[in-house]
């Protein structure tokens, strides 16, 4: 069964005919060809597919595209400034070496952006708790934690 889905992705209206079972992440990657959102597991554990739906971080592997009908979706491709300069959170990841292979990174950044909204000056413990749903195999989390602390502060300061 195919269905028509329409939503806004990174500020742009998009729509497509997809199979009803199409996951949101598949729609984003395969239909829209926005491949920055990754798939790292099949049990909603790794968080590599994290995007924002209506301003909240969600795992895009855990809902079908239909459930995002009419929603406002933000993916990693929509995070940097229009002129290509990095968002303060992305910049913090770069400055603190918060990424290695880069595969979990988009999900980490999307999750961190949502977290930072409510935590302008987070503690290490709060950051580690916020990463419960995001797995990284490269960094040992040390520099991701540093990045998110720095990024959250930078976001608060730039307000």
């Amino acid at each position: 069964m195919s269905v028509k889905v329409s939503m806004k992705v990174n500020g742009k209206p998009v729509s497509a005919e997809v199979e009803a079972r199409t996951l949101l992440v598949t729609f984003i990657r395969e239909n829209l060809r926005l491949t920055g959102t990754h798939v790292g597991c099949d049990t909603a554990q790794c968080g590599a597919c994290t995007v924002h739906m209506n301003g909240r971080a969600i795992k895009s592997c855990s809902i079908v595209a239909m459930q995002a009908e009419g929603a406002d979706i933000l993916t990693i491709e929509g995070v940097a400034n229009g002129n290509g300069t990095l968002h303060p959170m992305q910049q913090a990841f770069k400055e603190n070496h918060g990424l290695q292979c880069g595969f979990c990174t988009p999900g980490m950044v999307m999750n961190a952006l949502d977290f930072a909204k409510g935590h302008p000056n987070p503690s290490e413990k709060e950051v580690r708790e916020s990463l419960e749903g995001n797995l990284c195999r490269c960094t040992g989390y040390h520099n991701i934690v540093k990045s998110i602390v720095a990024g959250a502060r930078a976001m608060a300061a730039s307000k």
């Binding site: 199979e19 079972r21 990657r29 395969e30 060809r33 926005l34 491949t35 920055g36 959102t37 990754h38 798939v39 790292g40 597991c41 099949d42 049990t43 554990q45 790794c46 590599a48 993916t75 990693i76 491709e77 995070v79 940097a80 990095l86 992305q90 990841f93 770069k94 400055e95 070496h97 990424l99 290695q100 292979c101 880069g102 595969f103 979990c104 990174t105 988009p106 950044v109 290490e124 950051v127 580690r128 708790e129 990463l131 419960e132 995001n134 797995l135 990284c136 195999r137 490269c138 960094t139 040992g140 989390y141 040390h142 520099n143 991701i144 934690v145």
Partner: protein, 783 residues
Amino acid sequence: MNAPLIGARIQRKEDYRFLTGAGQYTDDISLPNQAHAAFVRSPHAHAVIKKINVEKAKKAPGVLAVYTGADLAAAKVGGLPCGWLITDVNGQPMKEPPHPCLAQGKVRYVGDHVAVVVAATAEQARDAAEQVEVDYEVLLAVVDAAKARAKGASALHDIAPDNTCYVWALGDKAKVDEAFAKAAHVTRLDFVNNRLVPNAIEPRAAIGVYSRADEGYTLYVANQNPHVERLLMTAFVLGLPEHKVRVVAPDVGGGFGSKIYLYAEDVVVTWAARQLNRPVRWTAERSESFLSDAHGRDHVTTAELALDNNGKFLAMRVKTTANLGAYLSTFASCIPTILYATLLAGQYTTPAIYCEVTAVFTNTAPVDAYRGAGRPEATYVVERLVETAARELKIDPADLRRRNFIRNFPYQTPVALQYDTGNYEATLDAALQLGDVENFSSRKEESRKRGKLRGIGYAAYIEACGIAPSAVAGSLGARAGLFEAGEIRVHPTGSVTVFTGSHSHGQGHETSFAQVVADRLGIPIENVDIVHGDTSKVLFGMGTYGSRSIAVGGTAIVKALDKIIAKGKKIAAHLLEASESDIEYDRGEFKVAGTDRKKMFGEIAFAAYVPHNYPHDKLEPGLNENAFYDPSNFTFPAGSYVCEVEVDRDTGQVTIERFTAVDDFGKIINPMIVEGQVHGGLAQGIGQALTEGCHYDESGQLVTGSLMDYCLPRAGDVPSFKIDTRETPCTHNPLGVKGCGEAGAIGAPAAVMNAITDALGVKDLPMPATPQTVWRSLQQKAA
């Protein structure tokens, strides 16, 4: 001249694309007319395939083809080769059973490849794969290494009726037995080095492409060594001319060893692409990764250390059974032998060591190198023994280590390696200080007041990186060279493209290698780009594993740079009307000695490509050099780790309160990147000790088959680390570098387990020390 770049904390060139979603991993590549493959995998650990019915699947919507082992056999597609021949104690070659890409008559582990369905969409391929009907006659399975050789154990392969691949030994047994007979004290431990699943966050993926126009193939694959992949696939499996096959390993989302190997899926999509004349792609689901990626570790070991009255180590005796899984993966055979037993001297002067390894086949996924590969297992043996001996003899564990440290270099160990340099005292001293070991007892007391147990544990590891030289490795059974290649292409306006046979899948080569080149040439780092991972661009490469990239790949680049500079001197001598022997070179400046007359690197590059005023009688135009570098020895990074844990008596929960790591990686190119490598290695080592354990049930079903059952460390499971380095440069490569990729995973498990056993006051505890395991140990002790 620019500020020195070697040793500088340069932010990574690759980060922008990864942070903006512009990375290009294999599954991100979309090709016109592509088809999708889904593999039918065995649900049984051990079974005879009586019949496969593909008719229903073939008629399913969108299906283009269904292939089974019979199709591959008919097409003369070979099996997967093993790259290292081990010779057993009787001088016989190891048993090398066939390793077909799709099962031939029998399946030998859950997840073994039975058939492949290719369809227009991934969903159609998966749906149709469920329509393939396979009639199995289920056989008894053997999963446990210790039971593989038991009488009556089910045999996997006809050529190995006792499930034994080889029995191999290293060291002087008579000398060791003699030392044990005279020893004042013997410490003995029996342990299991737990099986691990690598779990790079990017699952394996492969896209095969065939072009009738040039009869050429392209394989995009998440892989750590594309040239090796090509060599193995063309020469040993598909019988294709190497020049007609291009292998591209684009951005790769972590490897940790699991993406070194040639896998069945890579071969099948490449072969199928030609049959169907369209690209065929496959991306593993995580559950497929658990079933079919090569696993790591899985040793059962008895180890003994003989000491004299003063705590001097006299001898070590180790007996290990290594589980190789159902088939020999690409480098499986050398991991529990060449990369394990040779490391048993550790940092110590133990004069006699004997190690015997029995490698067995079981009905489990193939086991191969996983971050550290043999060296974590060796370090675990040595460092658990040493710590236990210290406790038994009531000697401070740090002091016992000091009494036995190697202090004179070069040092020939009794297990084949020759350490070129090291300073073990320096890293131990620094670790004790940085870890504030002095005040441990007051922290322990403070924990006690809160009802918690606190323990401290050490590990002083050594690793051998950049396995080499090729001739020696060849004499030990390697079926490949172990050199690396690099090329420097200088452009007319002085910018540089560097081609390296190393492959980055998170290590940051695009930055560290560029630092080396820009530093040597005195040009801005922005003017240097690193190209890797494409056999059509890079001249050759052995790839990245065994912490070899900077020591071997980096040196190949330096050797090519030397040639660039040598040619540059000739051009400069001509331009400056001086004798070549009078030209001095320093980071971008070609100078006539003792004068202020000079030419900059950019001017030389321009002259080489616009050779109007040029020594044509002596030199060719252009500035492009390559080099192959075959090291004369391994490098030997070493370090000391101190772990402090707190244990909750009621729940058995272990928390790592402090983790201190002081490593000696020789010269460091980019400290920021090196620290990141250490952090990641430590987390994997801590994962092995605390959370990760791959478990098959008796019938061979993988019980830990998803991220909900197999516990990768999360951010809350690991602490922030205290790390530092000490530096004794490697003596046999020009950069003085040793490699840093695996250290953390090598040293951490022993440090953590030494800390937990200290906290609990028990001799041993199995890994992973989950709350249940720890709690049980506490109950047993109380009983």
